[in-house]
Amino acid sequence: MRREVPLILTAIVGITMIIAHFIPPLNILKNLFEDWFFIIAAFAIYLGILNLILVNGDKIYKKQKGWLFGAVVILGFLVITIIGIFFSGGKSFQDPGTPFYYIYMNLYYPLSATMFALLAFFVASASYRAFRARNVEATMLLLAAFILMLGRVPIGEWISAWLPEGYRLGDAADWIMDFPMTAGQKAIMIGIALGVVSSALRVILGLERAYSAGE
């Protein structure tokens, strides 16, 4: 029963969601199942928080390698939670002027933006490593990357200003975006959609059971 019940539930919910897409009166069930998922996911956050505290707490208690990082995690979690809940002065905790807003603007935002900014450096090192004209396909990729990188910034206009309008680097970049790139994207999206359909059917039919620890 331990294996059959989840499979039956999966099949019922999966088939209902598919059929509800075509049979409007079943939308009530569809909305209900969606709401249930959000409720479960919302409560599951507590599981995650508990795990975070336990794992890091254990690390601190046993003074394992990297325990200081664990202390930072728990301290940060407690400080921001307490400030957000108890020190908002009657306003919504996200409103400008609250201590939470101050932490958001001066701590969270710079940290988040910094992590995203790392991409600029990693793109450079990944490009340096990856864009080598090893064969014909790699050379075409390299040329396309060049045209797009230069065409999407004013440098492309400066370099190709001597060419007639419509044939400059910017226009070439736009052409690559409009045609080869879009065609490739669409093809990948079709393949992905079919993969999702097949994968979903396997899950609904109970053929794919590894995700539910069934095999």
Binding site: S92, Q94, F121, A124, S125, S127, R152, V153
Partner: protein, 289 residues
């Protein structure tokens, strides 16, 4: 065993191919940061997809209602915040009414930051815009695409009150607004999921509302299929899209000033790729000879 026989000295080209990535990082850091200290005025042509976004807003009559959805977090602020400010400038300049919402928790906060910035402009200040009459911030609601779907029936299903807790029935701007039928244009600023794709699938396809978007540069290519089918009016792609929009608006601001930095950075990356390929071919030639 003699160690020197097993350790051949790396040639210049081999060293170049296996260069420490921190040297590349250093060059990129200089390429991005130094141009920021220079004031430049860049002129670039406005691409058709950006012009369509401009036209979509420009065509609206005064008093039209625009729903702006903020679906990004501070990580994407450098690319999307200039677009947000430009959207607000354009809407307020044309006396459009703005309804702000967010499918990401940080979205409405980003909207407040953009509003603070835009309200410093003299021409916008002179309009004496009032919260609840000229603009409103509905805040964040959890639910992703389900929120989009439910707003198609009634905004109040997802937003019974605004971000300050005021019931929508008490907000003058929202009194005539029930669902997308009462919205003239949706502007979406998106950095991922949920984002423009979900707005296309759940708002445009189902309720046939007009949508224009601003996306990060990485996401913008995925939107081109939707532009070609007419599901999306236009898209601002990354910093360049934002800069083109500011030029179309005749109000160059942050995005235009950041473009110089991006241009130099792209040039440096291209230079490194050329150097890497020269090293690669030199080494290959040496090995074959």
């Amino acid at each position: 065993m003699n160690e020197t026989t097993n350790q051949e000295k790396k040639t210049f080209w081999e060293k170049l191919l296996s260069i420490d990535r921190r040297i590349i990082f250093l060059f990129i850091a200089v390429a991005i940061s130094v141009p920021l200290f220079f004031k430049t005025s860049l002129d670039m042509p406005v691409s058709p997809v950006v012009q369509e976004v401009y036209n979509a807003i420009e065509k609206l009559e005064a008093g039209s209602k625009v729903l702006v959805s903020f679906d990004y977090d501070p990580g994407s602020m450098p690319e999307l915040q200039p677009m947000a400010e430009s959207f607000f400038r354009h809407c307020f300049r044309n006396n459009l009414k703005v309804i702000i919402m967010g499918l990401w928790p940080q979205g409405p906060l980003q909207a407040n930051i953009a509003l603070d910035q835009v309200f410093k402009d003299e021409d916008i200040k002179a309009k004496n815009l009032q919260y609840g009459i000229d603009y409103v911030n509905l805040g964040f609601t959890a639910g992703n695409e389900v929120v989009i779907d439910r707003m198609g029936h009634d905004f109040r299903e997802s937003y019974p009150a605004d971000s300050r807790g005021t019931p929508l029935s008490e907000i003058p701007l929202m009194r005539g607004v029930r669902n997308y039928d009462n919205i003239d244009l949706i502007l979406n600023l998106s950095a991922g999921y949920p984002g423009t794709m979900e707005w296309v699938q759940y708002a445009v396809d189902v309720f046939h509302v007009k949508l224009a978007a601003g996306n990060t540069a990485v996401q913008a290519p995925s939107m081109y299929p939707y532009i070609q089918t007419g599901q999306l009016a236009g898209v601002l792609g990354g910093m360049k899209g934002g800069a083109e929009y500011e030029i179309a608006l005749k109000r160059p601001a942050k995005a235009v000033s950041y473009m110089f930095s991006q241009a130099i950075a792209h040039g440096v990356i291209c230079l490194f790729i050329i150097i890497g390929n020269i090293a690669f071919f030199s080494l290959r030639k040496k090995k074959t000879s």
